[in-house]
Amino acid sequence: MGAVGQLAQVVVAGLTSGSIYALVALGFTMIFAVSGFISLLQGEYVILGGLIAIALSQWLGLPLPVAILAAVAGASLFGAIFQRLTLSPKRNLSPDAALIVTLGGAFVARGTAMVVFGKDPLSLPSFSGERPVAFGEVVVATQAFWIIGTLAAIAAALWAFFALTYTGKAMQACSQNATGARLVGIDLNAMGFISFVASAAIGAIAGVVIAPLNFVSYDEGLAVGIKGFIAAVLGGLGSYPGAVAGGILLGLAEGLSAAYISSQFKDAIAFVILLVLLLFRPGGLWGATR
């Protein structure tokens, strides 16, 4: 394989994992934009979504689409119950306190996943067969198309939601000016709830589409979440296009550095990116507000 082919292969892999980071980053962004805090549950939804889909389709033999829907519903339900029981009754929690509460939630999710699905990493067969597609010398797994396509679909759906629906516009009003939104009669608590559950659903979808490519293990939620957070900060925390761009960029940076610098310290590179970014461009590469 030539150098160009190898580069193309690395870029495809980077785009694939970048799409997952982007989906997780969208979840962080949504909650941060509406409610102003960081929820550490985002990675747990990815794990819960993946594990529920695997369990239902592999263990119980349900058809894949049903298992996927149930997985997204299950993770969203976890998010909804968590929000209703903890954050919702305490409306004036500081952002730091809310983050700490979601850390507790992340360990509840991890503990639950361990008890229900066991400690062994699990996997799902590809949605469209295991035979990869070849473009010249570049080989692409069919699942990669599903993953990148899912990101495109979610991004389009979010755009339509914010541009076309009343709820979407109300949600944007909350992130622009919470007091103003309340004055014109928008229910901040309801918007907080909707964004929390929607971010859970997006995370679970990411978990379902990545499950055929990576093994899913109950204890990886925080690590996945941190990658998504770095992606969100890269694009400017609170910006939706930024979250997508940040995710892709992080995926590419990781893929390239793993291929050409060192695969052993791949994770460390993401962290160095985070520290450098926060030192010089805390508002993200495109310098969004806050």
Partner: protein, 332 residues
């Protein structure tokens, strides 16, 4: 004159008596070894209490600093460096790590530090596992020499009991003094209103970096003692769950006073015994306890005790302890 139980000098005296009393009572009992671990945790948690209680910051990755301290001490003493010097190196290295992470983050809102410490935790775990040439990877390092101060080699549970509890006592004492000092008051001012503190001439970012570095260094000191006490360390003991447990200990014990660290450490030792029948449900139960404490008991059990004391005995609020906790009661 009525004795005031709320004076920190009296509490420190009671703590010293409790340390001596517990030894006399439990001498030769297996509980002594549990108390040695409690003392080590108390040192680490003191750092967390100072960070959160004094300055309103959270570290979700303190087990990483604990681990760096443990590995530093283990590597150096195996190479022949005296333990006392190794401890000093552990303190210096973890403090430096704290400062390096702190400088870019502490100008930003608190939650950036929280998430970055979590990221640091995950990175350190993969470095400890992956850097086999130095850390020996997941199998861990065995045969770490015992602690020694000059010619006195620390051997046996009793010796470690005195070593760790004296260090823990000194850390709490230092914490109490820091709390009451000018710097402590400046940190509390930063916690309640950063802009106002800066306007009064407090060097906000320098102080925030320093308290974070101090907090990391205390974890390094704890880790150094831990390595020599258990003589075997492996990366899994310094992972996210360990960080989570340390923070749980701090919040449960109470971040409104350094004495909360003692309560938190004792609870961390006692909790596994209580939840032992739950086995695999342990992580879930810890998560639930953590959520309940952070929502409904922001000053932890120490805060509960203080509140009860004030209610029963009346009089002024416990001066050095509660009145200066800044926003903790309203916020976290």
């Amino acid at each position: 004159m009525k004795a005031r139980l709320d004076r920190p000098q009296i509490l420190l005296g009671l703590l010293a008596l409790a340390i001596i009393g517990a030894f006399l009572l439990l001498h030769g009992n297996y509980l002594i070894s549990a108390l040695v671990l409690a003392a080590i945790y108390a040192i680490v948690i003191t750092g967390l209490v100072l960070l959160t209680g004094l300055n309103g910051q959270y570290s979700l990755g303190h087990a990483a600093f604990f681990g760096i301290g443990a590995y530093t001490s283990a590597l150096l003493t195996i190479a022949g460096v005296p333990p006392l010097l190794a401890s000093a190196a552990a303190i210096a290295i973890t403090g430096a790590f704290g400062a390096i992470i702190g400088v870019p983050l502490l100008r930003l809102r608190g939650y950036y530090l929280a998430v970055a410490t979590l990221a640091f935790q995950l990175i350190m775990l993969s470095v400890l596992n992956g850097w086999r040439q130095v850390t020996l990877g997941p199998s861990g390092m065995a045969n770490i020499p015992p602690y020694a101060i000059g010619r006195w080699v620390v051997r046996g549970e009793s010796a470690y009991y005195w070593l760790t509890w004296i260090v823990a006592f000194l850390c709490i004492w230092g914490g109490v003094n820091l709390w009451r000092s000018r710097i402590g008051q400046a940190l509390l001012a930063i916690k309640s209103d950063e802009a106002a503190a800066a306007a009064m001439g407090i060097n906000v970012s320098a102080l925030k970096v320093q308290i974070f570095a101090l907090s990391a260094a205390l974890a390094g000191l704890g880790g150094s003692l831990y390595a020599h006490y258990v003589t075997f360390i492996s990366p899994e003991r310094f992972g996210p769950i360990a960080s989570f447990e340390l923070l749980l200990g701090a919040l449960l014990g109470g971040v409104g006073t350094p004495f909360g660290a003692i309560l938190g450490a004792l609870l961390l030792i006692a909790l596994p015994e209580v939840v032992a029948p739950l086995r695999d449900y342990k992580v879930m139960v810890y998560g639930i306890v953590f959520i309940l404490v952070s929502l409904y008991l922001p000053l932890g059990i120490a805060g509960l005790i203080q509140g009860t004391y004030v209610r029963l005995c009346g009089g002024r609020r416990p001066g050095a302890l509660a009145a200066q906790t800044g926003k903790t009661e309203a916020g976290a």
